[in-house]
Assembly symmetry: C2
Homo-oligomer: 345 residues x 2
């Protein structure tokens, strides 16, 4: 079992061309829309079903809508991006696969559970920074009811949710990355300078409800590796945004980091799963899902970066590699996390 420790190689990629974040799109369901960040999203759907006859199709519609908002905001809605990198929580990443069917773009499907948002951004940056693609669209989605049905049990059963459980975010987020245009238009650009690929870390968590505990070690491993590889300390960032640790995982991550001599302070270390819902929204430990970090970043953080509130942000999307089948066969739930550093030029 791989646990925390110094990775033998440098796991961080530097982007000399600094791929530019051109635009974002975010679409959420009604519960997310009535949370503290409700005003920041491009669209709040009043209906969790999006008029569709299944949760899975609703999730697909949300992903397509988020991509549309993103491309529209970039004024690029009539020209397909040069590559689409996408993934989601559903088996065979059907949300992404079927959404890609409606686009002309070449498609690369990814699976990193809830870390997929950062994985898509990281690989999108590599393709753009290396000069292989001009523009990369990176997108993820999740849906509470579709995820519950697949990973634990249909919500129609009305199973009581334990205190450590998290609420999968219903929504989708999309980012358009591009080669810098080189023009000095007087505006500040938001760009990616560096990213860190995470390792699979296993603390032998086995509770399919308590995913924060399963992901916290991976989040800390990736953050510490990132800081070691870049020579930065946590204060370099105005915000370190973890994906969806929730309250339990966030507190655990703080302890694990402290044990290794790194302090993650309250004002600079926030978790998307904690930010997404208010305390009275009955989500137990907080939000989770591929859409959690994607929507919080694309809706909230990106706008605050545009407004100059945050100038340097490290997005650490975290994934619990939970398999209901493997859990029943006695296997544990490993975690993985990838980090992407955004900076205002």
């Amino acid at each position: 079992m791989l646990t925390l420790g110094d990775p033998p190689t440098e796991n961080t990629l530097w982007f000399s061309a600094r791929p530019q974040l051109v635009s974002c799109g975010s679409v959420v369901g009604p519960k997310e829309g009535s949370g503290p960040l409700g005003d920041y999203f491009d669209r709040v759907c009043p209906d969790e079903r999006m008029g569709e006859n299944s949760w899975e199709r609703a999730e697909r519609r949300m992903l397509m809508a988020a991509m549309d908002y993103c491309l529209c905001a970039a004024g690029a809605d009539d020209s397909p991006p040069d590559v689409l990198l996408a993934g989601d929580l559903l088996d065979q990443i059907v949300t992404s696969g079927y959404a890609a069917r409606h686009r002309e773009s070449p498609f690369l499907g990814l699976y990193g559970a809830c870390s997929t948002f950062a994985e898509a951004l990281l690989l999108g940056c590599v393709l753009v920074d290396g000069g292989y693609r001009e523009r990369a669209l990176c997108a993820t989605a999740s849906h509470h009811h579709a995820a519950e049905r697949q990973f634990r049990g249909p919500t129609e059963f009305g199973v009581q949710r334990p205190p450590l459980s998290q609420w999968t975010v219903t929504g989708a987020g999309a980012c358009l990355l591009s080669r810098p245009d080189g023009r000095d238009d007087g505006e500040e650009d938001i760009a990616v300078d560096v990213a860190t690929i995470g390792r699979v870390v296993d603390y032998e968590a086995s509770d399919p409800y308590d995913l924060g505990s399963a992901m916290a070690p991976a989040a800390v491993d990736t953050i510490l590796t990132h800081l070691r590889d870049t020579g930065r300390d946590p204060d370099h960032y105005d915000l370190i945004l973890t994906g969806d640790l929730g309250r339990v995982g966030r507190d655990l991550a703080r302890v694990l980091a402290q044990e290794r001599g790194v302090g993650l302070t309250d004002d600079r270390f926030l978790d998307a799963g904690v930010l997404m819902y208010a305390g009275d929204q009955n989500v137990r430990a907080g939000g989770s899902g591929c859409a959690c970090s994607a929507c919080v970043f694309c809706g909230y953080v990106w706008r605050l970066m545009q407004a100059g509130v945050f100038r340097r942000v490290l997005v650490v999307a975290t994934g619990a590699l939970l398999s209901p089948l493997m859990c029943k066969q006695g296997d544990s739930i490993p975690g993985v996390a990838h980090a992407v550093s955004f900076t205002t030029n």
Copy 2:
């Protein structure tokens, strides 16, 4: 629905540094071992279970063994590669996720159904060619019984297999890509010069047994896009190896290509699913699965490239984005294919 037609963008990536294929590893089950290519694989397991108590764990063992053979052949078994790109057919790509847990390497999980082998190679080449990583390990696996259980029904049920069905290959393949060392050691190197990212193509196939028909349009779309983007004609290649179309899909692909004015002749256009098994092995239309193109390439084609029989090979791994759930909800089975061009320097 996206069907065949000229893609609006150039979907092909050129690798100026020409990432080198250092070594391959291949592990297969007993049925594959008794097929026509049996002598080419690194290891033929006498037991489909690999001594494990489930098909899923057996698949994981095979993937780990293939990676070990690959690293060992490169003399690099004691130093982890700089990145592991892997995927498989099982939900949450558990084979890859759990196998990655035992390695120190940063991990990027991919899902492209049976096209995953080419997707991993393509992204591995980008990471190596762009100078982001020195060495990338690209690996995929599949297992007949695990795949049947998940996609159609447990083999223990003894369901009669229809004539168009394919047999998921039990096995795993791994490739180690590296930056060229620059030394002229007198030996010829096998390298990747170019790769094409595929689009999701949907001809509204709906039979979860007949995957060759679902994938053939995607294979042709990617091959034609590749030829258009590179200005090459099919004769440029000694071999165009499709992933796992089987006999039905291969014949269909040939017709679809012919309709668009491209002839794919018998001697240069082979399919891994047709090559893997003999006619009397009761596999109906041929082999399939993530391991199909991986094992045929890593076991057979790579050795023939080393021997100089093939000097230029285009690997077109094809994936049927089959979701049992979506099929039951009335959705079709889209296809996707990615192409990677190997050349002997």
